[in-house]
């Protein structure tokens, strides 16, 4: 087993390094030799010393590498051979723990899918209002893509866009509340998608507020155009 490990794992990995070191040492020796011949003996001596430093460091590094690989291999073999402790009772416990973790993850998935459904609702309402205000067909079905449209009429903005954005902001605030309540129950192990959703909700709210500010300014200021 060890011979196989040496032949197929350690030696091929070390071969490149050994060749590299031989080339490096050869170049250093060449510089050293040239320096001596040109009479710059301090440079020659320095390179000789450096050659030894490189040689010893490489030797120590390779020794440690081989030892670490062998140690890891031994630990792996021991782990494979170790008998499973506990028997039926602990297996049952482990299965129940697994089931409980799965339930917890599914609850979080359900919650996050619900948040995405709310997000779809807000987008559909907003896109519907935008289509009415601009006279364009409804936008694409992409999750958060803002359809390009141009609204010329302030009346249509106050009739459709501003109420749609007020609704959108209210909806996102309610999502945020619900999301924060769920957050107390989410364990560290599966928290990442939860945290990503928190960031997304904050971004949605920030954008909706900006859209609201833009449309209300447009409604109130005749010098602005909204595209």
């Amino acid at each position: 087993m060890i011979v196989g490990l040496m032949a197929f794992y350690i030696v091929p990995r070390l071969l490149g390094i050994i060749i590299g070191i031989i080339i490096l040492l050869g170049l250093m020796e060449l510089v050293s030799w040239a320096s001596y011949n040109l009479g710059i003996w301090p440079v020659g001596a320095l390179f000789r010393v450096l050659e030894w430093v490189v040689f010893i460091s490489a030797g120590v590094w390779m020794w440690n590498y081989v030892m670490n690989v062998l140690k890891a291999h031994k630990a792996f073999q021991e782990m494979k051979m170790r008998p499973v402790r506990g028997g039926v009772a602990s297996e049952a416990l482990s299965e129940s723990q697994l089931a409980s973790k799965r339930d917890e993850a599914i609850s979080l998935i359900r919650h996050l899918q619900k948040m995405l459904a709310y997000q779809q609702l807000s987008m559909e309402r907003y896109n519907g209002a935008a289509a009415l205000a601009s006279g364009s067909p409804p936008g694409s079905g992409m999750a958060v893509e803002r359809p390009l449209f141009s609204v010329q009429s302030r009346t249509l903005v106050s009739q459709y866009m501003i109420p749609a954005l007020e609704y959108k902001i209210e909806l996102i605030c309610s999502m945020k509340d619900e999301h924060e309540q769920v957050g107390q129950l989410v364990t560290e192990e599966i928290r990442r998608p939860y945290d990503e959703m928190s960031v997304a909700i904050n971004m949605m709210l920030e954008r909706a507020n900006l859209q609201y500010q833009g449309f209300t300014s447009f409604e109130q200021n005749s010098d602005l155009a909204w595209i």
Binding site: L121, E196, M203, L210, G214
Partner: protein
């Protein structure tokens, strides 16, 4: 405004990717994807209920959802 659009899009994309990772970890992907679709169906109906809309049938929901996933324009709340 465009920069904020992109930031929101990126944030939602990251959320969906992370959620997909969790879904896969739990084993809700094929062959047990029905369980995942059922979860989706239930939550969409819950949200429809909050705006006074009746529940959507499972087959109808599934077909809309798959159409939406493939980039089609779909509405779940009308």
């Amino acid at each position: 405004m465009t920069r904020l659009d992109q930031a929101e899009f990126a944030a939602v994309t990251r959320t969906v990717q992370s959620l997909n990772g969790l879904i896969e970890k739990v084993g809700l992907t094929v062959p047990s994807s029905d369980e995942w679709m059922e979860i989706n169906h239930q939550v969409f109906n819950e949200v429809r209920g909050t705006v006074g809309l009746p529940p959507i049938e499972e087959e109808d929901f599934r077909s809309k959802y798959l159409q939406g996933l493939s980039g089609g324009y779909v509405r779940f709340f009308e």
